[in-house]
Amino acid sequence: MEELTSTIYAMTLKGSLVQEMKEPGQFVHIKVDEQTPLLRRPISIANIEKERSEFTVIFRKEGVGTSELSKKRVGESLDILGPLGNGFPLTGMHEGKTALLIGGGVGIPPLYELSKQLNNRGVNVIHVLGFQSKEHMFFIYEFTKLGPTFVSTADGSKGTKGFVTDILDQEQLNGDRIYSCGPTPMLKALEDRFKDQDFYVSLEERMACGIGACFACVRKVKKQECGHDYKKICSDGPVFHIGEVIL
């Protein structure tokens, strides 16, 4: 367990389920404690080290579950269900292509494993990362090692003052494929900008089961806004192509 900022923690876990991890952007469902909280916590996978059977999750200490999770220490074990969901597709991305990765706050972690795997394929990767302030920043060094990295902070304490969209305006960035994970207002702004492009977003929602049975995390399908068609974020997502579901 490592404290990246005063509220962001990185936790590395070892176990056989690492071998089942397929794409970047999948998540694990963590039972923090036997009794309280009752439900598992869905947290995205930030880094996979298959040969060591290890993976890392990066999470923000926010409520009861993540606060308890942040207290875990080396040597403890956790009940984990996963890997779950469908991650970011890599097919079609190879040498000579450029990927633009845009992340906001605690939505940034899954983009790290994505960037690593894109790099392994020889893809040029550009990162645009948005934070609240300098104190909230994490993993900048790690991302910089994988490709050009632009940072924005809402209060201007580091990088471009404002949001990720301000960087996109300023630098006129684009890619053959765009991948994003972050708060919904950010994703909506990006949807307007890149709606006709090859663009994948990872969504978040309160979940119960994480496997598609409880119907807690549904989104309406875009082409049928008044209809009954839906996708489940946990088992159909969490990554969707833009235009597939209503954000």
Binding site: T36, A213, C214, H228
Partner: protein, 303 residues
């Protein structure tokens, strides 16, 4: 002889454990994890005449030892359940209890008549207790006369025994139980969720988009046990008990209180293997308690 066997109207259960309606979908997700034939039965997600998308999200919120949900009876509708979900479930050797819901009596009658014809549907569970839909649902579950009338109407058209799922959101659960028994119910299932609410401390607004939701999980188990215990003393039809079961001891408690079988709901979300795990543990638990058969536990706490 199978020590866990329980025989109820329409239901030949190889064990008394079944997933509760709304917590197991139509089984597909769990079938990837284990063989559904190990289950005593399956209570499938509530089916309505037309497809329903349900409520806007957030639909769930955690509470101490429990959770609130306001899914809103999302389901693909009667036709799709008849043509796709139920035939798919036929590959498993397990009786299906079809949970049915509606916003008016005619809806229940229509769904009951059709769905009870499906070869693997061995019983119906009338959902008159969903707290998360504006019309119907709980409206039928809080008035004894209405509940009785609905039971009679469904009984007239159903080809299989009818169980009525009672709401705990009433002053006297015994009156509701007696009313549906008079209406001809073959059994009672209880309890559905308790109406509850949670507010966001930062925004002062409800966390659930629907404002209120149904409370489930271990927090409600004492209420469920009390209600099974009360109802068991005033009706002669069998009870399937549910509410907060997480462990094998919880099952025994429900059986002692007068339930003949149990359903497991929220715990499936926490541990998807909870049903097969408990089924496996039951024989040893019977040994430990000195019982030959599961039947020996039923109603043991009653006079």
């Amino acid at each position: 002889m199978n020590r866990l066997h329980v025989q109820l109207p329409g239901l030949n259960l190889k064990n008394p454990i079944m997933p509760a309606s709304g917590c197991f979908g139509f089984g597909k997700e769990f079938a990837k994890l284990y063989d559904l034939s190990v289950l005593g039965g399956i209570m499938i997600k509530a089916t309505t005449v037309e497809p329903r998308f349900g409520n806007p999200t957030p639909r769930v919120a955690e509470t101490p030892s429990g959770m609130l949900n306001a899914i809103g009876l999302q389901n693909p509708g009667l036709t799709k359940v008849m043509e796709e979900e139920l035939p798919w479930l036929e590959q498993f050797d397990v009786p299906i209890i079809a949970n049915i819901a509606g916003s008016q009596m005619e809806d229940y009658v229509k769904v009951a008549k059709e769905i009870s014809q499906a070869p693997n549907v061995k019983a119906l569970e009338l959902n008159i207790s969903c707290p998360n839909v504006k019309q119907g649902g709980i409206m039928f579950g809080t008035n004894p006369d209405v509940a009785k009338e609905l039971t009679e109407k469904v009984k007239e058209v159903s080809s299989v025994p009818v169980y009525v799922k009672l709401s705990p959101n009433v002053t006297d659960i015994k009156l509701m139980a007696q009313a549906v028994e008079e209406g001809g119910a073959d059994g009672i299932t209880l309890i559905n969720t308790l109406l509850g609410m949670r507010l966001d401390v930062k925004t002062a607004k409800p966390i659930l988009k629907n404002n209120t939701g149904g409370l489930s999980g271990p927090a409600i188990k004492p209420i469920a046990i009390r209600m099974v215990y009360e109802v068991a003393q005033v009706v002669s039809i069998p009870i399937i008990g549910m509410g907060g079961i997480q462990k094998v001891d919880d099952v025994i408690e429900f059986l002692y209180a007068g339930a003949s079988a149990v359903a497991i709901g929220t715990a499936n979300f926490v541990d998807p293997f909870v049903c097969p795990t408990i089924i496996e543990q039951l024989p040893r638990k019977l040994d430990e308690l000195g019982f030959e058969n599961i039947q020996d536990c039923i109603g043991r706490s009653l006079n």
